[in-house]
Amino acid sequence: MSPDIFIKAAPVVLQGLQLTLIITIASFLLGQLLALPLGLARQASSPLLRWPAAVYTFLIRGSPLLVQLFIIYYGLGQIPAVRNSILWPILREPLYCGIIAISLNSAAYMAEVVAGALRRVPKGQTEACISLGISRRHRLTDVLLPQVYRELLPNIGNEIILVLKSSSLASAVTIMEITGVARAFTARTFAPFEVFITAGILYLAIGFAFTFLFRLLERRYGITGTRTPAPEASA
């Protein structure tokens, strides 16, 4: 290992940083947005809502993200109706396909978490809302969801790290994010350790920044006593 190549690798790997951040943040936000209706549908009383949501999360959580990404990027282009639709300019772009695949995937995992949290809210709260004459909509927006999301802050912080790691799969559809540029640089220089270690340090740094941000959010908005202890603090 030579320090020379480390110095050369750093700017190369940094070129991928922007795309990694774009994919991570866009997929994370879109995933969270989709997870709420999906999670609510998982808990709905109507089987017409419950079943499709259950099938969706089962299929997505049962298959690899890479397969899902390839279905969206390579598979959809095979269908003439898709190629002629107004969505084609989006589905033709590997970057958008990456974001769509990762967010659909993240939404399925997150929906289960949201549904689980909804299930844990004591029944008495619903009864209290009804007896106070609070409408169904406000029961959800003013009573249930604020506590569910405050409780889920640690899970959401964990999810953004998972999405960050998933963003590396975009390199499989030609996106030159951190892992993509690192692999291309390795092929040219034949110095895999220097390049991939540099890339790894960058991922850890981004992950650390996200974790720090969520710690702040938790301290500000989290429900005290629900935070799971950090692994280092246990045992």
């Binding site: 690899p64 282009g77 892992t179 692999r183 991939f196």
Partner: protein, 221 residues
Amino acid sequence: MSVILTYLPHLLQGLVVTLQVAAGSFVIGLLIAVLAVFGWNFGPRPLRWFISAYVTIVRGLPELLIIFLVFYGGTVLLSGAFGTYVEVNALTAGICALSVVSGAYLTEILRGALLTVPQGQWEAATSLGLSRMTAFRDVVLPQMLSYAVPGLGNQWLVILKESALVSIIGLEELMRKGVVAAGATHSPMTFYLTVGALYVAITGVSTLIIGAAERRAARGR
């Protein structure tokens, strides 16, 4: 439909390799995790730091990056050792990389399970004259594993799905067979859906088995 049937034997061959990669990485990862938890409990302070660092770093890195590091890094090391270009076998590289990954997650799972084993078990075992080591091996470890069954099952599902990433370094497992068939027939949708369905089938069967294992492990508690 007939296209799928033509390629089905290939896909099933790939499925076998997928199961090999997943099972290999799971077993080696579990071995790493048991040793890590053992070291965590009995080892000196620097070893505990090392184990903590291992778990934290691996959990923060994309699996694909670790696979690339092991594959390309291993190739460079072997080529250096033999003085000529030697490419690491993709199966070995894949199992090595995913073992390191699952080892880190499994260490976390086992460490959590260890905390659920009541302290009284340690006390009872040592008061009966067992050394701390024997108490760990014969009394605490089996209980720890039984508490860990749900976590272990979940990690098995994760590793099954992650094994698809090894297709990117060219291992002829299920995903890669799908890519080849999709390319040869120009029908990617057909084959990626088939491959996806096969993954859903193995994770589905695994989930049923894990459920049975969980009920069995919880028996008598």
